[in-house]
């Protein structure tokens, strides 16, 4: 019994003392964390191996294939690689006037990839589905030599529809955890250059 009473007394004591502390406040400044991180990477120069568009696309397609076979772990590991490739990307490869746009695209790809790296499969799919338009915008300002196909399944998200990119014309739907694999059609072809 004593063993219980003493800690309780201690708590009460600490309660009464705490009421007069904590008047100080400090302001936080963790805004734009990612911005500075990215800028740092860029200014490190080209000594480190910087990643390229094809690495980004390759890892995107790996996530897609993992989701087609409902493999959460494989999607997560490809997500991690995609996040890293987005962080290490050679921003100087973008045309001068597209630098800011390119940086913003990469930030969003990175954010999605980080969530894919750490989430359950339902959430992975949501972030994966969100990324294809960012990739299409990326490919407008960046070189990639193969054809990609944006594919569309009208059943996704309560029939609001969902899209993704594939390197093959064949439909293998990544949005339904290995079900409804054939739901989809090609919406547009992004020609390699």
């Amino acid at each position: 019994m004593k063993n219980i009473i003493i800690p309780i007394l201690g708590l009460i004591l600490s309660l009464s003392i705490s009421s007069c502390s904590n008047t100080s406040s400090s302001e936080e400044n963790n805004d734009n964390h990612d911005h500075t991180e990215m800028a740092d990477h860029n200014s490190e120069g080209n000594s480190e191996t910087l990643s390229s568009t094809s690495q980004l696309v390759d890892n995107y397609l790996k996530i897609k294939n993992a989701l087609v076979s409902a493999d959460r772990e494989a999607a997560a590991s490809a997500g991690e690689k995609l996040a890293k490739a987005a962080t290490d990307f050679d921003l100087s490869s973008f045309p001068e006037i597209e630098q800011q746009n390119g940086k913003e695209i990469l930030e969003v790809i990175k954010e999605n990839a980080e969530h894919i790296a750490k989430s359950e499969i339902e959430h992975q799919i949501e972030h994966f589905e969100s990324m294809d338009n960012d990739f299409i915008d990326l490919l407008k300002i960046s070189d990639y030599d193969k054809n990609l196909y944006q594919q569309y399944c009208p059943m996704y998200n309560d029939k609001k529809g969902g899209t993704w990119l594939s390197d093959s014309e064949e439909i293998k739907n990544p949005l339904f955890k290995s079900k409804m694999l054939s739901c989809g059609s090609i919406k547009q072809t992004i020609a390699g250059q």
Binding site: S18, S25, N30, E107, V108, E111
Partner: protein, 155 residues
């Protein structure tokens, strides 16, 4: 009681009392700045109310602390959750995000609310008033949808 037990308990109490004196930072800026979500968009009053009661405590620089936040280590635990929450989404600095990132965050907010993942259940346990009813969820989702549509036109 054995002398050893007495010493252990005394040290424990001393420790508990001691940590109350460690200064803790407070997530509370006095003014709402022009980068706040409510400054970036024209947010209707009912939505502002829902956001501030269900989201802003962990996702902004304006936390309303409960009394027990003054007791350590409870206060530290709260701070850890607030830091984590703000890293994902900070309404107070929403205006600093690119429009592409704003769209992604709005989309994520919507799906988190739809799937009832946010407000997080461990938070609701202590703050039942932050729970969103089905109709409140509907209001928020409709509003977030309208923002997505608005942003799509701008792009």
């Amino acid at each position: 009681m054995k002398p050893q037990t007495k010493i252990t308990i005394s040290l424990l109490i001393l420790g508990l009392v001691g940590i109350q004196f460690i200064p803790t930072k407070r997530n509370r800026k006095s003014v709402v700045n022009d980068q706040d979500f409510s400054s970036v968009y024209q947010v209707p009053k009912n939505i502002t109310k829902l956001l501030s009661s269900s989201c802003y405590n962990c996702h902004s620089n304006q936390t309303n602390y409960p009394w027990y936040a003054n007791i350590q280590p409870v206060g530290w635990l709260l701070q850890y959750h607030i830091d984590k929450g703000k890293k994902e989404l900070n309404f107070s600095t929403f205006g600093q995000l690119s429009s592409r990132m704003k769209n992604l965050k709005i989309k994520s907010m919507k799906s988190q609310i739809e799937d009832s993942k946010m407000p997080i259940s461990s938070y609701l346990y202590l703050h039942p008033e932050a729970d969103l009813s089905e109709s409140e969820k509907g209001e928020l989702i409709a509003y977030l949808d309208s923002l997505s549509a608005q942003n799509a036109i701008k792009d």
